[in-house]
Amino acid sequence: MNAELGDRERRIGRAFVALADTMVDDYDVIDLLDRLVGYSADLLSADAAGLVLADNRGALRAVAASSEDAELMELLQLQSDEGPCLDCYRRSVVVRVDDIAEAAHRWPAFVAALENRGAFRSVHALPLRLRGQAIGALNLFHHAPGPLPEDDLVLGQALADVATIGILSERLIRRGEVVNEQLQTALNSRVVIEQAKGVLAQHAGVDMNEAFDLLRRYVRANNLRLADVARRLTVGGLDPAVLLVSR
């Protein structure tokens, strides 16, 4: 252990090692993306981070977020129509919004929605790039206005690249079309996970955030796949009580 390494460098190192560990044979892409947004928020001191992927129709859909905060999910969703994330995806470039108050002319609906909630003042969107084309974007939200330091942008892009690799190599890339297949599977997994969160929220009397935590903890403690457990909770007859015991 190098004493000169700062705390942040150590955390960055640990994050990449953990991500690499996740990407073993037959891993769960949703689980990887879920961890990745968590690290992004943590390492880039973002107050929230979210990842969107383009679906078959080219619309952006939220697949992972650092918190299951309904408002955050809505913001990510809203960007299907307009916002920094959509611009980032369409033009395949980093979009920086140091102060959203100054961006009202660019995305009136998005900025109004942000201001209504009063939570976030700056947004940065980093593209998930494949062969020069974006397949989605990583969004970083901050409560305070101000630019993201250049170093942080570089680190953020590295995390976005890990996400791209993770999505693409879930199975071996043998054909060009494999990208579509992975995206479809990831987006479909998201539907099952949302349903499973509902099952747990109802069963345990908790909110969606806690429901997702329960699901994550069970999956990781037992070395299972998020999408598999979610599927078993919705159609496979897995008793949600089993997940509460290990709480």
Binding site: R61, A62, Q77, N180, N188, E194, Q195, G198, V199, M208
Partner: protein, 236 residues
């Protein structure tokens, strides 16, 4: 191709949707035949439509052997693409099925696409070509889009309230984009736990309630998630 599938699809029943999807695939993609089958335990196994006897034979073989690309696609909810049926490693997962196919028909390539809504499989589209080879990237993207839309249309038909079934304004799902609202999925999970039913029935109950109350499905979903609304057995 997506357009061909969508044209006038709102009132189509499952069988008509299956036929439209199969014909659009044979017209728009480089394949020789197509079939759509339903494989879930709830519904009896059935081929909804097939374009020709070979496509039909493929379905029959998979049903009788309970093995093959189509069964795998339905089980795992992911596309199974076999550009070369004569390639041993590609067909190694279902050797019996591959041998039975080789014995009875000339199939070079086989593609099985699940019609999927979350964990619910509503059917599988099987495509075959006499000559081996993959689909083009654009063709495949178009195919996924068409399959996605047909899956939503089938779920739409399965869950549309009886009173609304023959009305013009029967909440057409793909158009309203409700399908991408995460609250609808979360509420589906809560209602399935409240009633002890499967996701399709839970969604059907929410849609029936939305229809009766003259409100949007997503509004009902938000009420469920916020615990302002709870579904019970005796609620009509």
């Amino acid at each position: 191709m997506t357009r061909a599938v969508l044209l006038g699809s709102r009132d189509a029943d499952q069988r008509a949707l299956a036929e439209r999807l199969c014909r659009a695939c044979v017209d728009g993609l480089d394949v020789d035949g197509a079939a759509v089958s339903v494989l879930t335990a709830r519904t009896a196994r059935a081929t909804l439509f097939s374009t020709d006897p070979t496509a039909d034979l493929l379905e029959e073989l998979q049903f009788s052997l309970n093995d093959g690309a189509c069964i795998e696609a339905a089980t795992y909810g992911a596309p199974v693409m076999v550009p070369d049926m004569h390639h041993g490693t590609e067909t190694a997962r279902w050797p019996v099925f591959a041998a039975a196919v080789a014995e009875r028909a000339t199939i070079g390539a086989l593609f099985a696409l699940p019609l999927q809504w979350g964990a619910v499989n509503v059917g599988v589209l099987d495509l075959y070509r006499v000559l081996p080879g993959g689909l083009t990237v654009a063709g495949y993207a178009d195919l996924l889009r068409a399959v996605d839309i047909v899956a939503l249309l089938v779920i739409n038909r399965l869950t549309v309230p009886a009173e609304a079934a023959d009305r013009e304004d029967a909440d057409g799902w793909p158009e309203t984009g409700s399908a991408t609202h995460y609250e609808v999925h979360q509420a589906t999970g809560m209602v399935l736990a409240q009633l002890g039913v499967d996701p399709v029935v839970a969604l059907a109950r929410m849609r029936a309630y939305a229809f009766a109350e003259q409100r949007l499905l997503v509004e009902i979903a938000r009420d469920v998630v916020a615990r302002r609304l709870r579904f019970t057995e005796d609620m009509s």
